[in-house]
């Protein structure tokens, strides 16, 4: 029973985090609107616009976030005739978990990986790469799909998708603004200083606000990739298949594969069963913020220990 209690607690936590995320996003956009409005005449006018934009965006992302994530990952929807075995395996896990049948997508990339997205179990979507179908056997595929179905059941998909789309786009905005203000922005202002005093000050304020908010967004991303979430999805997945070794084998194959998944990026990496950006820590400067991604070896050894218990 303790596993069930953990699961309900996690679902609650996911819904709470989703609420916090959307609130932070709306406040952020409203503040941004206020700053712009203040400079161009009326702060409250800008605030209203910022708030409205945030609200509309929030609703759009809630309903369409899954499609956005699938779109930027280059995933194509398939029917049963395209891949009968994959379809069957997903159907088996839907039966085992008592959830509705999710939509199935394939990413035409030979690097093996998989993720789930959507806003709730009735609108869930599971995407796997072609490489996963080629390199895993039926049992291993079943283990991976069970892991993804667990994310669906625990509402991880809603939070992870919103984080990906909202935080991902804001992070891009941050990058853009910081670069613009500190490099090109600074130089340009000296050349045509006539119109620029107020606008220049605004950009500086925005840069500072973004610098303050960046750690908060990083924290939200960190929550999305917490160890607990992945461990629980592994454990719940095994509850469905009763076959921990198959999932362990799948994780070994996926993490041992050297191919790079082209479609993955900073906004979507946390969705995948195994982080597809393998050299991410080496490449990014914000390493420590992302280093809580669960080490794959630990996940594998937990699964193997489970197998010995049985």
């Amino acid at each position: 029973m303790s596993k069930n209690i953990d699961m309900w607690a996690l679902i609650e936590k996911n819904k709470r985090n989703t609420f916090i995320l959307i609130t932070v996003f709306i406040v952020f956009m409203a503040a941004l609107g206020y700053i712009f409005g203040y400079v161009y005449g009326n702060g409250y006018y800008g605030l209203a616009i910022g708030f409205t934009v945030a609200l509309v965006t929030g609703i759009a992302v809630y309903y369409g976030g899954g499609s956005v994530v699938l779109g930027i990952s280059g995933a194509k929807k398939i029917d049963k005739k395209d891949s009968p075995q994959l379809f069957n395996v997903v159907e088996e896990m839907a039966v085992a978990s008592g959830l509705p049948m999710p939509e199935i997508y394939i990413i035409y990339d030979t690097a093996p990986n998989a993720f789930a997205t959507g806003r709730n179990p009735a609108h869930a979507k599971i995407a796997v790469t072609l490489g996963l179908l080629q390199k895993l056997n039926r049992d291993e595929l079943q283990g991976v799909v069970a892991h993804e179905m667990s994310h669906v059941k625990n509402y991880d998909i809603l939070y992870a998708t919103l984080v990906g789309v909202l935080v991902g786009s804001v992070a891009l905005l941050c990058d853009f603004f910081l670069r613009y203000t500190f490099f090109s922005g600074g130089r340009r202002s000296r050349r045509d200083s006539k119109g620029g005093g107020g606008a220049q000050a605004v950009l500086m304020i925005i840069a500072i606000v973004l610098a303050v908010l960046a750690p908060i967004f990083a924290k939200l991303l960190q929550l999305a990739v917490s160890r607990q979430r992945e461990y629980l999805a592994d454990a719940t997945g095994v509850q469905l298949t009763r076959n921990p070794l198959a999932l362990a084998g799948a994780l070994e194959k996926i993490s041992g594969d050297t191919e790079v998944l082209e479609a993955a990026n900073r906004a979507t990496q946390h969705l995948y069963i195994v982080n597809p950006i393998k050299s991410f820590e080496a490449r990014a400067k914000t390493t420590s913020l992302f280093s809580t991604h669960p080490p794959i070896q630990e996940r594998i050894s937990i699964l193997k220990a489970l197998a010995h218990q049985q």
């Binding site: 075995q85 069957n88 159907e91 088996e92 896990m93 008592g98 009763r242």
Partner: protein, 186 residues
């Protein structure tokens, strides 16, 4: 005096709301159990539907093994007709599973049949259906466990006994043979 009355009314309201909440969750869980049970039937029916195709495909190749095919057909008919009780149904389904196993064992000796595209597709479908049957049973038992626990635990046990919610039965696996995981070898 008025204060006491208000406190009493608020307490009553809280109790009524709790009662409604517990009753609704009991109904929800009981429906989940019912739905899980009907899922098993859906998958069993799917297996019945697949078997005629399988027999048709194999017939051309297995001219000297007519008996095996006849057994499968017979077991299917028996399983469809056996709807008198859970025990008899389970026995008939077990028999069907066994005849299918021996059919697939025979297929091993016929490379042409084994390589037949139609046969391969049917084997994938049957493997998956066998899996779905056992997953559906597993899900049924999980749902029953959650429901039964709710009925036994305080305070939902009071609502349950008042409104006559009864413990649901687990699906028990009959024989030792059935306890082994279903494994159709290709």
């Amino acid at each position: 005096m008025a204060l006491i009355l208000i406190i009493f009314l608020v307490l009553l309201l809280v109790l009524v709301l709790m009662f409604i909440g517990i009753y609704n969750s009991l109904v929800k869980l009981r429906n989940r159990v019912k739905n899980a049970w009907s899922q098993i039937d859906v998958q069993l029916k799917r297996r019945y539907d697949l078997i005629p195709n399988l027999v048709e495909t194999a017939k051309g190749y297995l001219k000297h093994e007519r008996e095996v095919l006849e057994n499968v057909t017979k077991a299917r008919t028996q399983a469809i007709q056996a709807d008198k009780g859970v025990a008899e149904q389970a026995k008939a389904e077990n028999f069907l599973t066994q005849t299918l196993r021996s059919l697939f064992a025979v297929v091993e000796n016929y490379p042409d049949l084994k390589a037949n595209q139609n046969m391969l597709a049917l084997q994938e479908e049957l493997t998956s259906t066998e899996n779905k049957i056992s997953f559906a049973r597993q899900h049924y038992n999980d749902s029953v466990m959650v429901f039964n626990t709710k009925i036994e635990m305080f305070p939902s046990n009071m609502v349950a006994s008042m409104l006559n919610f009864k413990q649901q039965e687990f699906f028990e696996v009959e024989s030792e043979e059935e306890k082994k995981p279903v494994n159709v070898k290709f």
